[in-house]
């Protein structure tokens, strides 16, 4: 799969659900017969995947939130990893 361009709009595939795992104190992505454990940044990125924001918007929001820059590579490789599993899709 090719990496998505910065203008693409990512969202969770409807089969996947973001869930707080209270018992283990972390966030997870649940889907049919599986789960992915998320670190806090990953959960935050997915929280911003609302089907409206583009990848560039998400990067900008995170960079503003943390007063950081150059997050684009991290965000893209995180989303591509989930895209390869069919958990993140693109388009409104």
């Amino acid at each position: 799969m090719n990496p998505a361009p910065a203008a693409a709009v990512p969202r969770l595939h409807p089969k996947a659900r973001l869930q707080r795992d209270e018992v283990r104190g972390r966030d997870v992505l649940l889907y049919p017969e599986g789960l992915v454990t998320l670190n806090p940044t990953g959960a935050e990125i997915l929280g911003l995947c609302d089907g409206v924001r583009s990848v560039a918007d998400i990067v900008a929001a995170l960079e503003q939130r943390y007063g950081a820059s150059g997050l684009v590579q991290d965000v893209m490789s995180f989303l591509d990893g989930l895209g390869a599993k069919g958990l993140v899709i693109y388009g409104r």
Binding site: P14, K15, R20, L30, P32, E33, L35
Partner: protein, 374 residues
């Protein structure tokens, strides 16, 4: 090690309108051990206790879970707890209204079995006219926006249809198809000689899977559950005994896997007597094969013991007569010759075109007759 469970399989009832001869339910499913089904209240408590223990994934299965009139309310409870809930069903008599009600209650995912790619063979294997309802239900599930898994158990009679089954799942818009080669426990063990495919059949089907995976990519996930009698090493059953998984049976017994109840040398606790937490952490049945201390040779000194955990305890019990032995499908196991003999017998019979023995269908009278025989 203090692992917490991630998965709970809730077998809500062993009643089922179908009669699949490979059914994973216990042979004595119709007996007194499973008769007094848990109430709605009891199941709700089980789900709460499971969530508090760390469970995130819930399978609602059976038998046929649709036969529980309180299914919608159980789904709603699971949804409130944040469990990712899958319905595992034959879809017999499933209407669009009922599936819509389950959707509203918060059901996440639907898995519908089919016995073969065409009505004639599918209904013959199911022992019931069930194919039409299944096809209708697949469409209902997609119309309602459910992620859909097509479940198929593979064996000698339907392995030649793997391509047609994948095409069926593709045309339905399913997300996944689970092609599960028959695992020989319960009814399948009883019918083993008639269900076991030849090596040539398996190889041909596997080639189809590889080709179709390449063609479909991430559009359709094709899960292939290994035919372990034909493998060199065992499967890492349940990801290890008491590590991530538990099954609660219709009358409340808690098992480390779906087949574990057949191990007569273990005593299983019941959610009516004990909390799920106690059963998971303290019970002898869950602790007996946890970790590595119980392992015999050759597992004890084998590098693969962290990969396959010595294989399946139920298979060791069924085939080698002792649940604490190395899984006999392992090529290093002292009992591998028993597996080889079963495989060879099937190959010889197929080469000589001997008709397989008749199948025993899963039904209450047969269950009671087998239980009486002991």
């Amino acid at each position: 090690m203090d692992a917490k469970p991630l998965w709970l399989l809730a077998e809500l009832t062993y009643k089922c309108p179908l009669q699949c001869p490979y059914c994973s339910n216990p042979l004595d499913f119709a007996g007194s051990r499973f008769k007094h089904e848990l109430t709605t209240e009891e199941w709700s408590r089980v789900f709460r206790e499971a969530q508090a223990l760390g469970v995130l994934q819930l399978g609602l299965s059976g038998g046929e879970p649709l036969l529980r009139p309180d299914l919608e309310s159980l789904v709603a409870t699971a949804q409130q707890l944040g469990l990712y809930t899958s319905l595992i069903t034959s879809a017999h008599r499933l209407t669009q209204d009922r599936l819509a009600a389950l959707k509203r209650a918060g059901l996440d995912h639907v898995q519908i079995s089919v016995q073969a790619a065409d009505a004639e063979l599918s209904d013959r294997i199911a022992g019931t006219r069930a194919y039409r309802d299944k096809l209708a239900a697949y469409h209902f599930a997609k119309e309602l926006g459910f992620p859909l898994t097509v479940n198929v158990v593979l064996h000698r009679e339907n392995l030649h249809q793997v391509e047609a089954l994948i095409r069926l799942a593709e045309s339905l818009g399913a997300e996944r198809i689970e092609l599960a080669n028959t695992q020989f426990y319960g009814w399948a063990f009883h019918n083993r000689d008639a269900l076991m495919p030849t090596k040539a059949q398996l190889d041909a089907a596997w080639q189809v899977v590889l080709r179709e995976r390449a063609r479909l990519g991430s559009r359709l996930e094709i899960v292939w559950v290994l035919p372990d009698y034909h493998e060199q090493f065992p499967k890492p059953c349940m990801g290890g005994w008491g590590r991530a998984y538990m099954t609660v049976t219709p009358a409340g017994e808690v098992w480390p896997c779906q087949a574990a109840g057949g191990i007569t040398t273990l005593t299983f606790e019941n959610v009516r007597d004990r909390s799920l937490e106690w059963i998971w952490h303290q019970s002898d049945a869950f602790n007996r094969f946890r970790g590595e201390a119980w392992m015999p040779e050759p597992c004890r000194s084998c590098a693969r013991r962290t990969v396959d955990f010595g294989g399946c305890r139920c298979q060791a019990f069924l085939v080698a007569g002792d649940a604490a032995l190395t899984d006999p499908v392992c090529s290093l196991a002292p009992h591998r010759h028993v597996i080889d003999a079963a495989v060879t017998q099937v190959e010889r019979a197929a080469a000589a075109r001997v008709e397989p023995t008749a199948l025993t269908y899963r039904a209450a009278p047969a269950s009671r007759a087998l239980a009486a025989k002991g």
